[in-house]
Amino acid sequence: MKDTVEIRWHGRGGQGAKTAALLLADVAFKTGKYVQGFPEYGPERMGAPITAYNRISSEPITVHSNIYEPDYVVVVDESLLESIDVTKGLSKNGAVIINSEHTKEELAPMLHGYEGAVYTVNAKEISIKALGKNYPNSPMLAATVAVSGIMDKDAFLGEMRASFEHKFAKKPEVIDGNMQALEMAFQEAV
């Protein structure tokens, strides 16, 4: 793994791409890493394209710019592929991870000839199966950890369970569903 792993998230306002980036920063922090998780704000409205970023490193991070040459790109909403060149600057040795029910062959024409790895995860289906609702960001987070290898599966799931137990202290019935969504996405991505 490189010294600093850089990740760019593409989503739409209200879908939780920023939250997913902050959660990734959180879970990487808990495994002892130096982290950054930050959003880039344009017009603040539901449905507008938003970008969020992560830097994860074993050394302190001082850079405060956006990320133009990421190692990984995560696309939470595949409709963005039509309007945004999501693989712009993306390392050939990295990967793009797309929330889609389509295969990577079907998505290839929208990826501007990107030569690196392409992963698709049907986060909507996973979320509906596990939680009964479409919350794509948790499955996309699990897929990102699986593809990037930022941390191992057990450490990730352990930290996420602890975090859900804290977050959902008043509705523990949703914890197992969330954990199941992470497991399923992890399996589908690798």
């Binding site: 902050l22 920063a25 959180d26 922090f29 130096y34 982290v35 950054q36 998780g37 930050f38 959003p39 704000y41 603040e44 302190p60 991070i61 001082t62 850079v63 405060h64 710019s65 956006n66 133009y68």
Partner: protein, 400 residues
């Protein structure tokens, strides 16, 4: 043992406020500082602190209520950004001339227009002549550390001036980073209890705050404010030394990064300094060229002589401004650093750049370009533009 955490800059400031548990916080929300009063209100609602939170109808009222509380003898603070601080304008001068030790958590954001919510320094730079001490931060760690040092500086009897603790909107305020927190009891002991010397609620001492001053008195008041700013310099260093004894983290008027042997230096304020450090490391590792950085922490009072000394041996300096002052020449930092160099009879070439206005990003590659220009300038003694822009779309750049 320090507490290892990860927080946004706004969370870090709110956490420092919780640890200090001040008496009064009047506030009115504005992006990107809104989270600070929001988190503090949650701490109060949860019974974690007993700060009196005053819901006001505008920033003009927020600073007015903060002034009232401080004059009454309370430890008082508020938070704001951009246009919110512009609406406090009159009160900023009142707070300073009344010599009230107020702390303002300022999350720097561009002033309108066009309306913009992102980081630049036009709000605080516009208030540079208001009589407030201004302390800036590169990271979440620094804004937290600066906030803990703010009240001990402001309340020192030699100073008695309001302090602005500034951080870059969104870049640090909404960015989550690793941070080391100080334990509650240590913060409380460091900041101490506020014991005002003169205050309105003291029944044994009748006094007026902020009365009319005729010409016979006004000028002496201004001279006294200047003296307080002069005295503040030593107090800022003393408080930083005490803070270093507690945490091991060292602070001064500015940070010097790789300046021991630097031939080319950047002078900058705020979060972009971290990006510049990465550029310096890359330049030194790949070319061996001697790049360095001076990151201004304290802009008011301005460390003129110290800065000139730090830059004494460099061949060329790029002074980087994140705000305009529409003098049709340079920016505020550029003007003051050049004056400091002139005063010290420096022969260094200088270039003054504008960057990052309204949140325009600045990258490691941009800084590498700045150092390349400095090297050329030092060789030819012809500045690549006395005043330049970083990141401006090229067509307009030609007009500069």
């Amino acid at each position: 043992m320090a507490i290892r955490e990860r927080l946004s800059g706004n969370e870090a400031v709110a956490y420092a406020i919780k640890q200090i548990n001040p008496d009064v916080m009047p506030a009115f929300p504005i992006t990107p500082s809104t989270e600070i009063p929001q988190y503090v209100a949650t701490y109060i609602a949860n019974g974690e602190i007993d700060t009196e939170f005053i819901h006001v109808e505008s920033e003009h009222s927020a600073m007015s209520a903060t002034i009232g509380a401080s004059a009454a003898g309370a430890r008082a603070l508020t938070a704001t950004s951009s246009c919110g601080m512009a609406l406090m304008w009159e009160e900023l001068y009142v707070a300073a001339s009344d010599r009230l030790p107020i702390v303002l958590a300022l999350v720097n954001r561009a002033l309108t227009g066009p309306i913009n919510i992102n980081a630049d320094h036009s709000d605080s730079m516009g208030a540079r002549d208001s009589g407030w001490i201004q302390i800036y931060a590169e990271s979440n760690q620094e804004v937290y550390d600066n906030f803990i040092q703010a009240f001990p500086i402001a309340e020192n009897k030699k100073v008695h001036l309001p302090v602005m603790i500034c951080q870059d909107g969104f870049i640090t305020s909404h960015g989550v980073e690793n941070i080391l927190l100080v334990e509650d009891d240590k913060v409380k002991a460091f900041v101490g209890e506020y014991e005002p010397e003169h205050y309105l609620l003291n029944p044994n001492e009748k006094m007026a705050v902020g009365p009319y001053a005729v010409s016979n008195y006004y000028m002496e008041t201004k001279r006294a404010q200047r003296q307080a700013m002069i005295e503040a310099k030593q107090v800022i260093l003393d408080v930083a030394k005490k803070f270093e004894e507690m945490t091991g983290r060292s602070y001064s008027f500015f940070e010097e990064y790789k300046m021991e042997d630097a031939e080319y230096a950047v002078v900058i304020i705020g979060s972009a300094a971290g990006t510049c450090k990465a550029a310096i490391d890359h330049i030194r590792n790949t070319t061996g060229k001697k790049a360095g950085l001076v990151k201004i922490r304290v802009f008011r009072p301005f460390p003129e002589e110290e800065l000139a000394k730090a830059l004494a041996h460099v061949k060329a300096v790029a002074i980087m401004d994140r705000s305009e002052m529409f003098s049709a020449t340079g920016g505020p930092l550029g003007a003051e650093v050049r004056a400091a160099l002139y005063q010290a009879k420096s022969s260094a070439e200088t270039v003054n750049y504008f960057y990052g206005l309204g949140g325009r990003d600045i990258t490691v590659a941009d800084f590498e370009h700045v150092y390349e220009n400095l090297e050329k300038t030092a060789q030819t003694h012809e500045p690549i533009g006395m005043y330049g822009y970083i990141g401006l779309r090229s067509e307009q750049e030609k007009e500069v």
